[in-house]
Symmetry: C2
């Protein structure tokens, strides 16, 4: 029911993902009439899905606390999360209200042992391919231990989605020496450099311009700056696109040039297509929850389902647990006051 | 002496700025031989400048504390700042080590009454023209009062550089409700909404994508996220440029299209030219200090001088003081515990 378009994007998106992964089964949670109006056009979805009906839907403008108060036990968002909680589904994909989805997922699925709060991780198109960036805005601020936990979760995600043995991980920082307020980032760097992390390659600090360059596979930062980075990059890409478009319309020779180069422009648009990297993954919960952009189309929603498919198939949660316990076992054996042991 | 190219960029840059503003006089501080090797090619600079010789130069890799220890009283950076301190110059422009420049400027010029620390403000090209963004990384974190001070300083700068009566000001934020850790941003918003700021128009919260859109004239944030935003935008612009370039080289028809549209591409490059917005202004000091990008060319360095020229000519520091006292007088008269009164 979520997002700007509800079932009219979700069902065609599910159909597109199903065409790529014929073993998916869907539980479609929401208003049966709205859902069936869409599934009528996609027979294959009808065969691979069941509908869980509810009249109640969290609205895009609801605050998280309102959504929890009014939507618990009965809203489509809650029932979808509940399907994961009860083991009936492996992953929730929602285009709905981000804050509500996070609040409900956290309330119902709970965080993994030793993880204090969830983070949102996303795919970021780069000059080298794609990187994972987290936290994109689940919470504000991060102490050294939480930055380390995010490095672990993000690199587990990179192992799963990019099929890497030892993804490289960078901590987002700014390039000024001797500035106060970076103690947590520095301390996280120290832990990542000296700790037992056989399944990631800590690459040190990176700056904002390293993200698009693809300097590392995983970029870790706290949620405020991560969200600002994401939105600023989106804004810059749109700005560039609009300036390019108006430049190509200025003169007849530019328009003719555009026609001749239209395949090149199409290839470029595909490379920067935000739909292909759609899907924010909530990391640190006992269950997989994916947030699709509310304004995306069916192709974008399908991309979010694809991410969920890979995450479940390659056992992201097990990999996160394993990496966290590698790190914490060492904490304990070395006599550190590890949080898992305290 | 500073930057990647020293006098070979600074002197031609000064010549370019002088051509636009024939009333500028320069004090060229540094190694006399290196300077004269350059001024020989620019007779007009010779007539409008004097050289203050010193052998000592702060190196790009020096930490701020090292620079202060070894370069105080004698380095070219210090002597240039000292010329402002003693009223011999109106503005310092340096392409040197940012941290050292900030530390020396702060040490020698001191912060303005009531301003706890300086911020770095920069011009940001947008779809509507240009905006001012601060803090780009002078310090980390900002409480509500400091965010308000930055809003005042940034809007004074917008009045001066953009010739606006009441520039619009936005606080950079992330679009999630009920998230902990945003109290300072919210409180700053409350002060800006209800306070006495006749010379700015507070426009509320903006997100990262609003910067490139030009939603407001002035974007205010603390230095970590501001620096991340700046660098991320630079990285995205470079990424877009490289993808465009390689797309235009893929096929003969794309190359031909590029040739036909080359004027359009040139116009676009000019619009996004980072040299035109070169120059970070240190705000909140008793003097004007401009940091040019270390890697820029003469045209970029000239743009930094131009900013300094306008800032001095239109009396930025007086405008900041006036706006701050408007705000604080009200604090006192309303019985608030204003910092100016406490």
């Amino acid at each position: 029911m979520g997002g700007d378009h509800g079932a009219s994007v979700v069902i065609p998106g599910a159909a597109a993902a199903l065409a790529r992964h014929p073993d998916i089964e869907f539980i479609l949670v929401g208003d049966r009439i709205a859902i069936e109006a869409q599934t009528a056009g996609y027979a294959e979805i009808g065969h691979r899905s069941r509908i869980v009906h509810t009249d109640v839907a969290v609205r895009m403008e609801d605050k998280p606390s309102q959504a929890l108060r009014h939507g618990r036990w009965k809203s489509s968002m809650w029932l979808a999360i509940d399907a994961v909680k009860r083991g009936e589904a492996d992953v929730v994909v929602s285009a709905g209200n981000t804050g509500a989805l996070m609040a409900m997922a956290r309330f119902h699925l709970k965080t993994m042992a030793g993880i204090e709060r969830p983070a949102i991780a996303g795919l970021w198109p780069t000059l080298r391919g794609e990187s994972i960036v987290l936290d994109l805005g689940a919470s504000i601020g991060a102490d050294a231990n939480y930055l380390v936990d995010m490095a672990v979760m993000g690199s587990a995600m990179a192992r799963v989605l990019f099929d890497l043995e030892r993804p490289s991980v960078g901590l987002l920082n700014i390039g000024v020496e001797e500035i106060k307020g970076l103690e947590d980032v520095r301390e996280a760097g120290r832990i990542l450099r000296t700790g037992n992390f056989p399944k990631m390659e800590y690459a040190g600090f990176v700056e904002g311009n390293d993200i698009g360059r693809g300097t590392v596979d995983v970029v870790v930062t706290e949620g405020f700056s991560g969200n600002i980075a994401l939105k600023t990059a989106e804004g810059t890409a749109r700005q560039f696109g609009e300036i390019l478009k108006s430049a190509m319309n200025r003169t007849w020779s530019a328009r003719l040039g555009y026609l001749l180069a239209r395949n090149a422009f199409r290839a470029m648009r595909e490379k920067m297509d935000p739909r292909k990297s759609n899907g924010g993954v909530f990391l640190g919960l006992n269950g997989v929850v994916i947030k699709s952009h509310g304004g995306t189309d069916a192709e974008g929603f399908a991309a979010a389902i694809d991410i969920g498919y890979d995450i479940v198939r390659y056992e992201l949660l097990a990999k996160i647990s394993e990496m966290l316990s590698d790190h914490r076992r060492e904490d304990v054996s070395a006599g550190h006051v590890g949080r898992a042991a305290s």
